[in-house]
């Protein structure tokens, strides 16, 4: 993991003091709410439906056990004993008081954490592959690049007030586990020359009201040219991105309306003017950072025999453990989607337990995934049984990673000031129903994502089955989309038909699954079946039967 030096430490402490001062000036009226709002957002503080919310950055989803303990402590001391892990690998506290947040930031700084740019119209916390450094299909560890981007973008003077939020994802593996093509900029790290990486730069992806799949901006960009290029890409966006309509302000709209070729030309023109001096240390910085991520030596172990495992353990290993690049180890995903539970929520007690388990079984390291689960990246196969037993005690042993019941859901109208309908109760009811169904049917590989408004924080566009909650005449109504995907063949789901009442959703989902299972051909995925048969066939199955 990356370890702060004295500069990093001084930087987060200074930021914490700065925010304390801003809060003080707000409370005494020296800053109006209009002036303060972007400042608090840039530090992850929202005003939600019932209370303030603090979103803490978990850079590229990587956490130490001590950091997880601190998150648990904050949940206990300043919140209501729980936190919510998000689709951007962060954690949210739903009930902090504004006057307590400066103290929370001081606590975070003690463990090399912060809330910098977890909201606001700026470069958001960079996300990455939760299996980084341990995945067998990895070309290059994406984390040094993600950390370089974190440093470059943190409190960047020029890009603090962009037209709209700006999201980066970085991956370095064959399989995309980051939803790369749904990001404003997605970077694929590949081997370059002289031990330096090179990059594919994808631009203009996003979800929200106008979902777009990113397009390739440039291939084979050497490390030495990466940051000046990104700087110019952001500058052109900052100057020319639309500010008249917040639904048209993301870079995806600029690229679509202005054209990729025009955008590219403007970026090249800007690059030609740029002074490269500030970026000269970047390559050395990259290698300094990369040293921190060099895998501490894992001794290959003989693979443990799983033949005699009790069924619950065997099923959990099959479903939740992914192969590790070192023999005898596994990458263990811990589901935060218990049957009937709230997707992504963990109690303080569970967070403390996860920290202890990381110390005991995974070199003190944890990851957060964009599907709102937790990963212990390096667990010896001989420890699977003991780990599973400990997880069972914490209610964290659900064996549904990659199953349909591994649902993504945004907080929805239970918390969010922007939401038009609730998401969580829908997810809870469906997960109860689907856990039962998964005993009979193989529903692995399908995804179900739920958003409580058109902003699509629950990634409904990118799921095999997406659910979008809307407000129709002051009543919740849910629209179903089919055929979306966030992997390398990213696609946007299509709207199936008229919306459903909340009570009609379980029946509709059952009919979709009945039709898919009855119609699928050997080896066909849900999206393949959907594309072969077409929307009309699914619509008929769902609505006619209703």
């Amino acid at each position: 993991m990356y370890n702060y030096d004295s500069h990093d430490q001084a930087f987060v402490e200074a930021r914490s003091r700065e925010f304390r001062d801003q809060v003080e000036r707000r409370i005494t009226g020296k800053l109006s709410e209009d002036e303060f709002k972007p400042m608090r957002l840039m530090n992850g503080v929202y005003l939600q439906l019932h209370a303030y919310m603090l979103r803490v950055a978990i850079p590229y989803g990587t956490l130490s056990a001590d950091q997880m303990r601190k998150l648990a402590f904050l949940a206990e001391k300043y919140d209501r004993g729980y936190g919510h892990f998000t689709t951007r690998q962060n954690i949210q506290y739903n009930w902090p008081k504004l006057i307590d947040i400066p103290d929370m930031l001081d606590h975070l700084a003690e463990v090399q954490m912060h809330a910098i740019q977890t909201s606001g119209n700026c470069i958001r916390n960079v996300t990455s592959d939760p299996f980084a450094g341990v995945a067998g299909d990895e070309w290059i560890d994406p984390r040094p690049t993600a950390e370089l981007l974190r440093q470059w973008s943190s409190l960047h003077p020029e890009f603090a007030y962009l037209p709209r939020k700006f999201k980066f994802a970085v991956t370095g593996a064959a399989e995309d586990r980051t939803a790369l093509k749904f990001h404003d900029i997605g970077l694929k790290v590949k081997p370059g020359v002289d031990d330096n990486p090179a990059y594919e730069i994808w631009v203009g992806g996003g979800q929200g009201r106008t979902p777009r799949i990113a397009v390739l901006f440039e291939d084979n960009v050497p490390l030495s040219e990466l940051l000046p290029k990104l700087d110019s890409m952001l500058r052109v966006y900052n100057l020319h991105g639309r500010r008249d309509n917040k639904y048209k302000a993301r870079i995806k709209i600029l690229v679509a309306e202005y054209g990729l070729e025009n955008y590219r030309r403007d970026v090249e023109e800007d690059l030609a003017l740029q002074s490269l001096e500030p970026f000269e240390p970047a390559v050395a910085e990259y290698h300094r950072i990369a040293k921190d991520f060099e895998q501490s030596d894992l001794t290959p172990l003989p693979s443990a025999s799983n033949g005699d495992n009790p069924p619950a353990l065997a099923s959990w290993i099959k479903q939740n453990v992914t192969s590790h690049k070192v023999p005898g180890y596994g990458v263990v995903s811990i589901s935060l989607k218990p049957k009937g539970g709230i997707p992504g929520d963990a109690t303080a007690e569970q967070m403390y337990a996860l920290a202890d388990l990381a110390d005991r079984y995974s070199q003190g390291e944890l990851r957060v995934t964009h599907r709102q689960n937790i990963v212990l990246p390096s667990v010896a196969a001989k420890d699977f049984a003991a780990l599973h037993e400990a997880l069972v005690k914490q209610g964290l042993a659900e064996d549904n990673i990659g199953q349909l019941s591994d649902i993504i859901a945004c907080p929805g109208l239970d918390y969010c000031a922007l939401a038009t309908a609730r998401s969580i109760p829908v997810a809870q009811e469906l997960s109860t129903q689907l856990r039962e169904r998964e005993k009979r049917d193989d529903l692995s590989g399908l995804t179900l994502n739920i958003s409580g408004c058109i902003n699509a924080c629950g990634h409904h566009h990118a799921a095999s089955i997406g659910i979008l909650g809307l407000n129709r005449a002051e009543t919740e109504s849910y629209q179903i989309t089919l055929g979306g995907s966030s992997n390398d063949n990213a696609s946007v789901g299509g709207i199936l038909g008229p919306g459903f009442a909340q009570s009609e959703i379980p029946g509709a989902i059952d009919r979709i699954l009945d039709f898919y299972i009855g119609s699928k051909q050997e080896g066909e995925s849900f999206n393949q079946t959907y594309r072969r048969l077409g929307k009309a066939a699914f619509r008929e199955a769902v609505y006619v039967a209703a």
């Binding site: 709410e33 439906l49 303030y52 049957k339 005690k393 209610g395 659900e398 239970d414 856990r435 407000n471």
Partner: protein
């Protein structure tokens, strides 16, 4: 700051307290309260005057985001008309924080 005003409804004035974020309502005692039942019911021709109370309280750095929202009242309770506002006055509909896990696997 007032949302769409319809003539046949009453309104309440609501906001969030600046320092805590708590949801508050303008009460019949002319102060902010966290109890909806104590909220002052505002008739259509009083909306401007109460909107002004909200604005001046914002300026005094007591609350943020003050606005009027339509409500229906019967003997039992005050109920906001809008879905979002009904949720806002009730709080989350879910058993958050408390474990709501099934322990199938442990069995």
């Amino acid at each position: 700051m007032a949302k769409k005003i319809k003539s046949d409804l009453s309104y309440i004035l609501t906001a969030n307290e600046l320092t805590t974020g708590d949801v508050v309502f303008w009460s019949r005692e002319n102060s902010w309260t966290d109890t909806l039942a104590k909220a002052s019911l505002i008739s259509n021709d009083e909306t401007e005057a109460f909107a002004e109370i909200g604005t001046s309280s914002e300026r005094a750095n007591e609350v943020v985001g003050a606005y009027l929202t339509p409500v229906q009242q019967n003997a039992a309770a005050i109920t906001p008309v809008e879905l979002r506002e009904r949720r806002r006055v009730k709080g989350p509909s879910i058993a958050y924080g408390a474990p709501s896990f099934s322990h199938d696997l442990a069995a």
